[in-house]
């Protein structure tokens, strides 16, 4: 076995993929029954010539993508005001809009910009928002997503997550010659960057709570090892390469510990917690069954995990400082409930469930135990909550290829993120620290 396996590592955030075209394109498959009509009027530009970025177009796309809004097509607009004083409110009312957004992109010194915008309630003429977002040439897109975040929060009461990021695994090539890539992109699929790649599998990416690093499993040495990688610098640490399986990393909410699955020599999978600074390893489960896929509760005091100790995979909960207490069973419906993920508010558990022969995403209310199936695919997997808890991103299949999709936690809004390559294991980054 002299085959030398190499892993080319690119510092994510520094190297964009050539072409920088989005790998993902979004298509809304189902929206709310009464989306809010809103007009995002093209923004003014303070200089002569064409504006360096079309802020209004991106904002309209974001709001449309949420499934909760129907932005008015530009071609239907009869005037293009850029300040609230210029808005003829009755005209917009006549065109059946509930809200209108006007704004300008203003150039400052040395490639700096300010996006200023106002949100008006068409029904009563009230100004709901006046807001400014600073930007540079490089951050105009991100700043425009923040504009959408602010509008979304004002109108729905839910913090917008358009400016956040996702990570996922992309696979290209045929069985004997595959390329596995860990990719970080904007939440809308734009700006994909390769964080790591290998001819051997890469799997199970997990964000650090500060959104600066990813933990993941790589088989680059022909056995599974867990790495953490700082995205800005590309600095990588191999945190676990013990005999047997090293899998399913999950960062604790305080970022100091990593839950992981080890099999040691005997091949029996159990859940452990590793202190990232002191390297202290604590065993949380001890059972002949497969115990794996740990997810921390929101308060960091307990972990949910998959175990087939009852004969089929079900979800259990165990204390993080387990003094040998027996884990308690959490799921009871059906014969397959696996890969738990906890909502940011700690009240909901998302999982993969077997529903009449198909693997689908379900949520269970941790307070009253009620559960609901959210998706209709045949092989849906890897649910991950948006940081605002309003929706989930997950992996599904479309014509034999892995694609990503999102679904709102009430199941009403669904989107598909189409891609050229086979993609899977999406994980939604947390909000950046404020």
């Amino acid at each position: 076995m002299s085959k030398v396996r190499t892993l080319v590592l690119l510092a994510a955030g520094l190297v964009a993929m050539p072409g920088a075209r989005a790998e993902l394109t979004i298509e809304i498959t189902e929206g709310v029954s009464d989306p809010i009509p809103i007009a995002i009027v093209p923004f003014g530009w303070s200089e002569i010539g064409t504006a360096p970025f079309d802020v209004a177009e991106l904002v309209a796309k974001d709001l449309q993508r949420s499934g909760r809004f129907t932005p008015m097509p530009r071609t239907d607009m009869i005037e293009m005001p850029t300040r609230s004083e210029e808005v003829e409110i009755d005209d917009w009312k006549l065109l059946r809009n509930d809200f209108v957004v006007v704004g300008q992109l203003q150039a400052g010194a040395e490639g700096r910009y300010t996006i200023q915008f106002e949100l008006l309630n068409v029904l009563n003429g009230q100004k709901l928002l006046l807001n400014r977002q600073p930007a540079t040439t490089a951050t105009l897109r991100a700043a425009s997503h923040r504009v959408a975040d602010v509008i979304f929060e004002k109108l729905t009461g839910i913090r917008g997550a358009f400016s956040t990021r996702i990570a996922y695994i992309s696979v290209e090539g045929q069985p004997t010659n595959r390329r596995y890539k860990l990719i970080v992109a904007d939440a809308d699929g734009e700006n994909p960057r390769i964080a790591a790649q290998s001819s051997e599998p890469i799997m199970s990416p997990a964000w650090s709570p500060d959104g600066q690093s990813l933990a993941y499993v790589s088989f680059e040495n022909r056995v599974a090892s867990i790495y953490t990688q700082m995205l800005r610098t590309g600095e990588r640490v191999r945190v676990s390469a013990r005999a047997g399986i090293n899998g399913a990393p999950a960062w604790s909410p305080d970022g100091r510990r990593l839950a992981l699955t080890l099999s040691r020599k005997d091949g029996n999978l159990d859940v452990y917690v590793l202190g990232l600074n002191d390297q202290v390893l604590t065993r949380l489960t001890d059972d002949n069954a497969i115990d794996t896929e740990a997810a921390w509760s929101a308060d960091g005091k307990s972990l949910f995990f998959t175990s087939d100790r009852s004969g089929s995979p079900q979800i259990y909960r165990v204390a993080a400082n387990s003094g040998g207490e027996r884990p308690t069973r959490v799921t009871f419906e059906g014969t397959y409930n696996a890969r738990p993920r906890v909502s940011p508010d700690g009240n909901t558990l998302a999982m993969v469930t077997l529903d009449s022969g198909s693997y689908r995403i379900a949520v269970q209310d941790l307070r009253n135990g009620g559960s609901r199936i959210l998706t209709q695919g045949r092989l849906d997997e890897s649910p991950s909550f948006a940081p605002n808890g309003a929706e989930l991103i997950y992996a599904t299949q479309d014509r034999g290829r892995g694609v990503l999709a999102t679904v709102s936690v009430d199941g009403n809004v669904q989107q598909r993120l189409a891609s050229e390559s086979d993609i899977r294991e999406p994980v939604w980054a947390p909000f950046p620290p404020q």
Partner: protein, 196 residues
């Protein structure tokens, strides 16, 4: 034996087969096979499955069989040919959500066990795989359970612990793409890779 029994118990949990008697039969069968396969040809039923393709990335397993066989007498030749046929098969297939070595693959496992037990310096890597259904890390567990199942069978037949390395790829390296039973059946497997 307890570990083995509990493992088989788990493997059989979703079938209606009464576990204990089957366990003991399996153990006996494997043990017997390890002593009797040299006489055989008659040792095993024909595999129900069509012969799976050899792993593309693996070289033929080293074997000192030829050197130890007396050339050109008929029963020896037939046995040697049969042994070679079994050794050439380096993929063991499994049932859904199950880690038990199916009866039609026990002769093959026994052949590899004999081959390895005869050469204590020879190493084998057992790569466990699962089909794509369900969650990925749980499937890593299923692949591991399968490679451990083959590991135990080999060790029961005299292979040293130090000769075996196990790894599980779960559903990450399917042998065949596609989302139907035919593809899934080809992907639930343990590949024996000689030489580490």
């Amino acid at each position: 034996m307890t570990v083995l029994q509990s493992m088989w118990y788990k493997a059989n949990r979703f079938t209606d087969v009464p576990n204990w008697s089957v366990d003991m039969r399996n153990v006996l069968l494997i043990t017997l096979l390890s002593f009797t396969f040299a006489l055989a040809g008659c040792g095993g039923k024909d595999a129900v499955q069509e012969t799976p393709p050899a792993a593309e990335t693996t070289e033929p397993p080293p074997s000192d069989l030829e050197s130890s066989q007396v050339p050109s007498t008929t029963p020896g030749d037939a046995a040697a040919a049969e042994m070679q046929r079994r050794l050439a098969q380096r993929i063991i297939y499994f049932d859904f959500d199950n880690a038990e070595v199916r009866p039609e693959f026990r002769d093959i496992v026994a052949a590899h066990a004999a081959n390895l037990a005869r050469s204590p310096n020879m190493k084998v890597r057992l790569e466990g795989h699962a089909d794509e259904r369900g969650s990925r890390e749980y499937n890593i567990g299923l692949g591991e359970r399968r490679s451990q199942s083959v590991r135990r069978a080999l060790m029961l037949q005299g292979v040293g612990d130090g000769q075996i390395v196990t790894v599980s790829y779960g559903e990450e390296r399917p042998a065949q793409s596609g989302s139907d039973e035919a593809a899934w059946a080809k992907n639930r497997r343990v590949e024996l890779v000689y030489g580490n």
